[in-house]
Symmetry: C2
Subunit: 340 residues, 2 copies
DNA sequence: CTGAAAGCGCTTACAG
DNA sequence: CTGAAAGCGCTTACAG
């Protein structure tokens, strides 16, 4: 059995109420008593039982984080941002992922009851929002991240994927590219959807007669690699390739490298996200920088402010164009085999 | 106020005890009653209050995971493995990272009290183990991951980094390399330490007169990139470079690519970990595969078995040599600029 | 400034 | 098979 507040009270010769007050920093405790209590508590290695504390205080000091998945560059960065703010505020994180099975979101959300003071939820699915709406209760503050929930005014925070994709297209078009292929993300993914829409709209506006050239990918390197090979096999290759995220862009880049295609001389290539590797590959990758960690951090801060400031729709984060070697127009190609 | 077990009891015309039993699947409930209770519960969207439940049942169905950090390829994979097993067993995960500040581990561990049924702890620091030993109580089962805790018989699971590094050295030596440089990981990191030791020992045994050539890195691409540039500036370049992890190997690879150095013709390059990108870079990277997700999953399974089977020291996971292009001896270098 | 007591929402022997 | 009641370890009005 572990040490409880009673043990501390007995040792310190006070009531449990006083121990509680002393340890929680309430004002109304005599200084000498406080010191004694704190001393005894640390001597006994007492640490309050969290469940008991939160049952009586109605606070858990914990935030629930429900994500589609836990691994990968994106979630990992998101967690970093959330985690950092959580630490600043002394909060714990109860994480739960539903592994790409939207139907399990409901269970994940329900399981959070009585365990968290608030919820951060990301559900980048275009459809299947019922699992969400049905399980978001008004009694538990929740902040949606990158999640589209039509017909509700739920607080949410997202990335301007559409605007970002348009900005990237403008960059490519200004560089003189005309045959621009797009490697799309998963069809049921909201970000992927918006980025594709940005590509299509920008293309239709600038080059009304150019047909959209869209390859299906699913946001991982393998699908980018496949798409890259497919593009190389086309009768007329594209001038430029716009991958809906950096991981696919890298897969595509490696396919091009393997085939001896020179970037950007033969084909320009750009991505979206600005993952850490983007700047290290050769040639370095032009991309739209999305500050994912900031997205997470801001979402948590907004969640904590929620009762006070109820602006439900936050301004979306604007991605920033990062021009690197992979799309530099008319750059002299660097020598690749003439140094030792 | 949200729905409690009392509300369900009232609606279903039974006592709270019966509601509890019905919902928890106990045998001793009349079938008709069980059905009624379940129906009422779902109608009311009742979901048990976790803190209350765990306070009385002494079980939390939650596992605490204390890691140095939450982001990056390694932790992300580790979490994936842990998360998968957690879901199989219906467990939740309370995560906590101490962001590379070992001194905060104690607080993180103590905060887990009354919130978790067990602990998964990773602390890859060579020194500073006091924070750990002082806060690991026998009352809470704990499993150490990749953590060296001298003088205790704590249950732990780790990777055979030393053996892996030796195996890689053997591969390089067999391929005929003699001037082998090593890009080391952080000095206070246990994995880094073991891999360096493997390099040194293998070198000393096979080439007693060859001096060790060690560059300091810190496990990220940037430090690998720096080390790569440093190696290129050496009077006599190495035959082969062994980076203590893949991220550094990639940074080094990009530095070599930028300089026009041909891999593996000019210099062979190998890493450690087998992160997903290793197979996609050009040339693809030879590495030691560490099944990180399995490490996490196995650690959790071992934790759950802990009371029953108390073998404290688990067999370390053996990394597997994955030979790819970056170290293939005498491979014809593929053309890089002759296709269109 | 301090203590006795109620109460948070459950689970679980104990009776019946 | 069911209910009344104790109890889990805290916090917090309420008195004093």
């Amino acid at each position: 059995m572990s040490i409880t507040i009673k043990d501390v009270a007995r040792q310190a010769n006070v009531s449990v109420a006083t121990v509680s007050r002393a340890l929680n920093g309430h004002e109304n405790v005599a200084e000498a008593v406080r010191k004694r209590v704190i001393h005894v508590a640390s001597e006994l290695r007492y640490s309050p039982h969290h469940a008991a504390r939160s049952l009586s205080s109605r606070r858990t000091h914990t935030i629930g984080v429900v994500l589609p998945d836990l691994h990968g560059e994106f979630f990992s960065e998101l967690m970093r941002g959330i985690d950092q703010v959580a630490r600043e505020r002394g909060l714990h994180l109860l994480v739960s992922s539903y592994h790409g099975h939207p139907e399990e979101q409901g269970a994940a959300l329900r399981a959070m009851r009585g365990r968290v003071d608030g919820l951060l939820v990301m559900s980048p699915y275009v459809a299947n929002t019922d699992f969400l709406t049905e399980n978001l209760t008004p009694s538990l503050p929740a902040m949606l991240i990158n999640t589209q929930l039509p017909g509700t005014d739920h607080a949410s925070l997202s990335i301007d994927n559409y605007g970002g994709a348009r900005a990237m297209m403008q960059h490519l078009l200004e560089a003189g590219h005309r045959r621009i292929a797009f490697i799309a993300g998963p069809e049921d993914n909201f970000d992927a959807h918006e980025r594709l829409r940005g590509y299509r709209d920008a293309l239709a506006e600038s080059l009304p007669h150019a047909p959209a050239w869209v390859l299906q990918g699913d946001f991982d390197e393998a699908s980018g690699h496949r798409a890259g090979r497919e593009l190389l096999a086309a009768e007329i290759r594209p001038d430029a390739v716009f991958a809906a995220n950096d991981m696919m862009a890298l897969g595509c880049l490696f396919a091009f490298n393997q085939a001896g295609v020179q970037l950007p001389r033969d084909i320009a290539l750009v991505g979206f996200d600005d993952i850490p590797l983007a700047r290290y590959v050769y040639p370095s990758l032009t991309t739209m920088r999305v500050n994912i960690a900031e997205l997470g951090g801001r979402a948590l801060r907004a969640l904590l402010d929620l009762p006070q400031s109820p602006p439900p729709q936050q301004e979306p984060l604007t991605p920033e164009l990062i021009v690197r070697e992979s799309s530099l127009p008319n750059t002299p190609v660097r020598a690749r085999a003439d140094s030792s």
